[in-house]
């Protein structure tokens, strides 16, 4: 008896692309975004003003830059909680360099470079020493911001050159800011990286089963290290934009932003345990969070209450599909 192939034909897929789209998390999230948009438009007469809307994008652009890289990191089963502290350290490094008359290109280089170095530091601790990333980055969160506090105390760096203000205050065309342009380009770039490249496939494989990924010839530690580098770099970029927009550096810059970034990623449908999630989801989540914050701001809701709303939104959106499944049973 030989194992002659029976020629059993296997179809590629059973579900069509449209079918899967209809049942996707992203579509649900998009519906929520539209609902919030309509609600805001009815609740406040100032909402449907293009310049107000343009201003509102600052609520999420810097966070989203980090969230894209964080999404990949979380899909791969790791996390970086030091991103906001990296912003503080990168901003401090730029402000420090400013004292020696470094120009705009140099400042940007220093901001991005500091981010990369911080990412590399996290990456080495996680991949070389095999420490859990949540512990490592809680540690470096205090470390990076601590350095900022030592350097600055209760002082602030000011006096950034006018050309530096372009990143956080400039416009590309009409109402479109430089930041929203960077955001859009990054959204496309990260979308392609995660969904259309070998690297992205490796990220999913590692997040689903790091052992089997290793046994399949994927260079697991290298991929993870690159992801920490990318997250550091994006934090450096966010530091450039945020510092440029504020025009000054204080050690408390971006305080608590890491949780908003993680919230954005999880709201976007990325499994916090790794293995699944999409960049389009994170993009829509960024808009949802931006719209909620802006809408509540127009209604003069204080910041503390806003964070309650964001928290409730996160839990609500996560729990909704589960509830539906339970009710159907």
């Amino acid at each position: 008896m030989t194992a002659t192939p029976l020629g059993r034909h296997l179809p590629d897929r059973l579900t069509t692309r449209t079918n899967r789209l209809i049942r996707s998390w992203e579509l649900l999230l998009l519906a929520i975004a539209v609902a919030i948009f309509i609600f805001n438009a009815m609740a406040s007469p100032y909402f449907l003003n293009v310049w107000n809307l343009s201003d509102a994008t600052f609520n999420f652009t810097e966070k989203a830059m980090i969230a894209f890289a964080m999404a990949l990191l979380i899909v791969a089963g790791e996390i970086d909680l030091s991103v906001a502290a990296i912003i503080a350290l990168a901003s401090t490094a730029m402000g420090w360099a400013l004292q020696f008359g470094v120009g705009t290109p140099g400042l940007v280089g220093i901001g991005l470079g500091t981010g990369l170095l911080c990412g590399a530091f996290n990456g080495i601790l996680v991949t070389r020493l095999g420490l859990p990333s949540i512990v490592v980055t809680i540690g470096t969160m205090s470390l990076f911001r601590g350095i900022s506090y030592i350097v600055l105390g209760d002082q602030a760096y000011r006096g950034y050159p006018d050309s530096f203000a372009w990143f956080g205050q400039g416009y590309i065309w009409w109402v479109f800011t430089v930041e929203i342009a960077i955001f859009s380009m990054l959204a496309v770039a990260f979308g392609i990286l995660l969904h259309r490249t070998n690297f992205g496939r490796a990220v999913y494989a590692i997040g689903n089963n790091p052992t089997a990924a290793l046994f399949s010839g994927i260079r697991v530690t290298r991929v993870k290290f690159i992801l920490f580098l990318l997250t550091g770099l994006m934090s450096g970029l966010a530091a450039v934009c945020l510092t440029s927009r504020l025009g000054s550096t204080r050690p408390s810059i971006g305080l608590g932003m890491e949780l908003e970034v993680v919230t954005m990623v999880v709201l976007g449908g990325v499994n916090i345990l790794g293995g699944s999630g999409t960049i389009p989801g994170v993009v829509i989540a960024a808009f949802v969070m931006g719209l909620v914050t802006f809408g509540l701001g127009l209604l003069n809701v204080p910041g503390i209450v806003m964070s309650i709303f964001i928290g409730a939104l996160l839990i609500g959106v996560i729990a909704l599909p589960r509830l539906f499944a339970m009710v159907r049973k």
Binding site: A3, L10, R13, N198, R201, S216
Partner: protein, 500 residues
């Protein structure tokens, strides 16, 4: 013996996305009798166990306890009804004592509602004695071997006064002596009037202890009856739906030139001085007891762990293997023993699993080309007669045998020169085994060199051109031709000196 089954499944159907796992099956268990559930991988045995223990709820049909329909909404309901299962890897708590494990969830209480430790220990001791288990109630479970853990699980089953005991391949990890002790215990349970469902792939076992049999195939009921009325061939035919005329394929092909040469591979703790050659188209068996260092050596050869010294040559050229990626590039691939953890990424679809190590080939400039992945996956999975609904199906939804096919397809797609198969047929049924064996022979005949790690003597003897025996991390013998007998294998593996 009564005619009313204590537990019965009537026309039970269970479907998963794209798969009918159980299609109107029936099964009856009688008090004081052992019923063997027999079937190939994917026949639906595990699904039946999960349905009986309340983990899955059937989509159709009913479960009858003493003739009365019942519904198990949770695992707790099933336990209440007196159904208990002993799994391949027993689900117990390593950090607790034997007594705590036996009585967890229903420990005797003091009048203040606290756990009565003295009575727990006393009752546990009595239970263990009643089944002849030489265990102390205060031993931590992590200090026990698999066999002793089974005993604890059985004591636990008795403590909740279970009327149905399900044993899912209980002997898989046991030694011959421990297996005999388990048989004695099964007889003891029978004498107490318990109904036992015994799931096993080993026919000698089934004929040794079962009174009845039920056969499933592809999620359907095929037949049942008394063991006394059938023979092995008849059961095998029911299982596979065809006659298995020959267990091992004939090997007519002679190995070619020397391909792989390993010299002095050593590891600080696991193995030392492993030296051998492998010819093109040869099947080289690695035999030894569990823990002899065979898998550890193979994983070093595949780049998972680093050897402390040693040289590996392919075609006479030295190759340095620091990672699996290096090994794959050199044409060495490894099918691990643990499919679910190391072999396949179960949450990802079939085509992505198959293409994973071949992404360099299917992509262009680092960008994925899905169409290429699908055609690669189709080519190799169809050669292996994979049973799935589509190439987009998650590997986790396939049966164990089919998951193994996905892992093998994944490696063949890289067009390797050496394939290492670590216990390739462990835990799979006779039909699938024969398919894997004949496929292995085909691969060797086509010029692929095969290293097969196996602990099953018939498989080692039936498949290998040459066999290396390892013991305690060292090669102790290299056997071929007339020297290759069951006796010599066992002698060398166990370290018994030459026959007097």
């Amino acid at each position: 013996m009564t005619d009313v089954p204590i537990l019965a499944l009537d026309n039970i159907t269970k479907t998963f996305p794209g798969v009918v796992a159980l299609d109107k099956v029936r099964l009856a268990l009688y008090p004081g009798q052992v019923t063997a559930l027999i079937g190939e991988n994917g026949a639906g045995k595990s699904t039946v166990v999960k349905t009986l223990t309340g983990i899955y709820q059937p989509d159709g049909g009913q479960i009858l306890v003493n003739g009365t329909p019942v519904h198990f909404a949770t695992a707790h309901d099933a336990a209440e009804a007196g159904i208990t299962a002993i799994h391949q890897e027993t689900v117990l708590f390593d950090e607790m004592t034997v007594a705590e494990n036996i009585f967890i969830g229903h420990a005797p209480r003091t009048r203040f509602g606290l756990i009565d430790m003295a009575r727990t220990t006393r009752d546990a001791k009595a239970l263990l004695e009643s089944i002849g288990a030489p265990l102390r109630p205060d031993t931590k479970l992590r200090d026990l071997g698999i066999a002793s853990k089974h005993l604890v699980a059985i004591a636990r089953a008795l403590s909740i006064d279970a009327c149905v005991v399900i044993m899912d391949e209980p002997t898989a990890a046991l030694s011959q002596k421990e297996i005999e002790e388990l048989y004695a215990l099964v007889d003891h349970l029978k004498a107490q009037g318990k109904a036992i469902l015994f799931i096993s792939h080993k026919f000698d076992e089934i004929f040794r202890i079962a009174d009845r049999y039920t056969v499933f195939r592809d999620g359907q009921f095929v037949g049942d009856g008394m063991i006394a009325d059938v023979d092995q061939d008849a059961l095998v035919q029911m299982m596979v739906g065809r006659a298995v005329d020959q267990i091992f394929p004939p090997r007519t092909h002679t190995p070619g030139e020397e391909l792989l040469k390993v010299v002095g591979y050593s590891h600080p703790t696991e193995f030392a001085d492993v030296t051998f050659t492998l010819k093109q188209g040869e099947i080289l068996g690695f035999y030894g007891l569990v823990g002899a260092g065979r898998s550890e050596f193979m994983q070093a050869l595949f780049g998972i762990t680093k050897p402390s010294k040693g040289v590996c040559r392919i075609d006479g050229k030295i190759i340095v293997i620091r990672s699996p990626a290096d090994a794959i590039a050199a044409g060495i691939v490894y099918v691990p023993e643990d499919r679910g953890k190391q072999g396949a990424i179960t949450a990802m679809p079939i085509f992505q699993n198959v293409a994973l190590p071949s992404l360099g080939k299917t992509s262009r400039h680092g960008f994925l080309r899905m169409a290429e992945e699908f055609s690669l996956a189709r080519e190799y999975t169809e050669r292996l007669d994979l049973r799935a609904t589509s190439l987009d199906q998650e590997v986790g939804n396939l049966s164990g045998g089919n998951q193994q096919k996905v892992v093998i397809a994944k490696w063949l797609a890289t067009q390797p020169r050496v394939i290492i198969l670590d216990e390739p047929t462990k835990g799979i049924d006779i039909g699938s085994k024969a398919a894997v064996h004949s496929f292995m022979a085909e691969l060797a005949a086509a010029g692929l060199s095969v290293i097969m790690v196996s602990s099953e003597i018939p498989e080692v003897l039936g498949m290998s051109d040459r066999v290396i025996v390892m013991r305690e991390g060292r090669m102790v013998a290299e056997l071929e031709g007339t020297k290759l007998t069951p006796e010599t294998l066992v002698r060398h593996a166990a370290g018994i000196e030459k026959a007097a």
